[in-house]
Symmetry: C2
Subunit: 196 residues, 2 copies
C-alpha cells in the first residue's frame, strides 16, 4: 500500500470558469440567485461531473456572487465534497477567513437547490453563514434522485434560527423538482446507495 | 475583490509526517488506536496548529493505519476542515475511492477522541465507514473546551446502526477528558464561539 496522504485537493469542474463568466457580479433578486444555482446543478449532471446538486454563497444584501459549488464526490474521490462544502470553502478562501459571519464582514447567504443533507447542515452551522435559501425540502429529492439526505435533526430550521441563521424556503420549488425529474430520466449514477 | 476561487487545498500540519513515523503500520488493540489519536489531538493544540481534536481511519480487523486527521479550520481558513473530514478524505484519497465500504474493501473504522459534531456525523455516514470508535460523548467536550457540537440527531447512534455503522464508546474516556482539561488550561483559541 502507498504511504498515508497528507493533503486534500478539491477542484471545481473544468467548465466552471466558463459558467461563472456568464453570471453577473451581483444578482439582486433571490429568484435570480436560485435560477443560477439550478442551472449550475443541471450542468453538473449533464456534463457528467457530479450529482444534481449545486450551491452558491452571496452577500445577502447586495447579491454579490462570492462562490459557487457543485457536488464533486465521484470526481474528487472524496465523500465530503458536496456542493455546500465546496461553495462554503471556496467563499472562505476568497474572503481569507474561516468565518463568513465574522466582525466587519457583510451577512452572507447560502443558496442551495434543496435542503442540505445531514453533513452539509452541520457545515452550514460552522461557516458563519446568516441566511439559508433553499428551493425546497421534503421527500422529492430522495424519491426522484435516489440520493440519501441522512438523519437531519428533526428541528433543523428551529435549530438554525436559534443560532442566528434565517431560512427562506420554496424559492423556485417547482423548477427544482423538475430538475430532479430530469436527473432521474438521465439514469446517471447515484453513488451513495449502499454498495457493500 | 479578487476573482472567485475554484479549488480547495487542505493540508495536514508540517509536523504530521514526523508523527506518522512514530506509529506502527498496524495497531491491533482499539485502546492503542485511541491512544495514537489522543496524542495526535494533544500535539495539534500544543503546536498551535488547531483545536484539540483528531481522528484516524483504520482497517477494523487488521488495525492497519490508513489515515490521520486533525482540526485545520484556522490554519486552512476552511470551517469544514474538522479532524474527521480530514481523516476520511485522506483515507479515501489513499485508497482511490470515495467509498471506504465499497465492494472488495475491508471494513474500516473511524477513531475519534469524542463524538463527532453535527457536520462530521454526516460526513461519517457518507464515507463508507463501518465502525465508529469514540472516547466518549456528552457535555464534557463543550464544557471543558467551549467548542460547539451542534444539533446532532437525538437518535444518533441508532441512526448509525440502522445504516450499518456500529459504534463503540468510552475507549480511554478518562484520558480524553483529561486532554480537554489540558486544552482549557492552555487558554488557546476557541474559534466557533459566535463572533458576529
Amino acid at each position: 500500500m502507498t504511504a498515508p496522504c497528507l493533503d486534500l485537493h478539491l477542484t471545481m469542474p473544468e467548465w466552471a470558469p466558463a459558467y461563472l463568466e456568464t453570471l453577473p457580479d451581483f444578482i439582486p433578486a433571490v429568484e435570480g440567485r436560485m435560477a443560477a444555482i439550478l442551472e449550475l446543478a443541471r450542468l453538473n449532471f449533464e456534463k457528467d461531473t457530479g450529482g444534481p446538486f449545486a450551491a452558491g454563497v452571496f452577500e445577502q444584501e447586495s447579491g454579490r456572487l462570492v462562490s459557487i459549488g457543485v457536488n464533486r464526490v465521484v470526481a474528487s474521490g472524496c465523500s465530503s465534497a458536496h456542493a455546500e462544502v465546496m461553495a462554503l470553502g471556496l467563499a472562505q478562501k476568497r474572503l481569507g477567513t474561516y468565518d463568513l459571519g465574522g466582525p466587519g464582514i457583510p451577512a452572507h447567504e447560502l443558496v442551495v437547490n434543496w435542503r442540505p443533507c445531514a453533513m452539509c447542515y452541520g457545515a452550514l452551522l460552522w461557516s458563519g453563514i446568516r441566511f439559508l435559501t433553499i428551493a425546497g425540502s421534503g421527500p422529492e429529492l430522495e424519491e426522484l434522485t435516489g440520493f440519501d439526505e441522512g438523519p437531519v435533526h428533526p428541528e433543523w430550521a428551529g435549530e438554525l434560527a436559534g443560532r442566528g441563521i434565517a431560512t427562506r424556503m420554496d424559492v423556485l420549488r417547482a423548477e427544482a423538482v423538475e430538475l430532479f425529474r430530469q436527473f432521474r430520466r438521465s439514469s446517471r449514477l447515484v453513488y451513495n446507495a449502499r454498495q457493500g
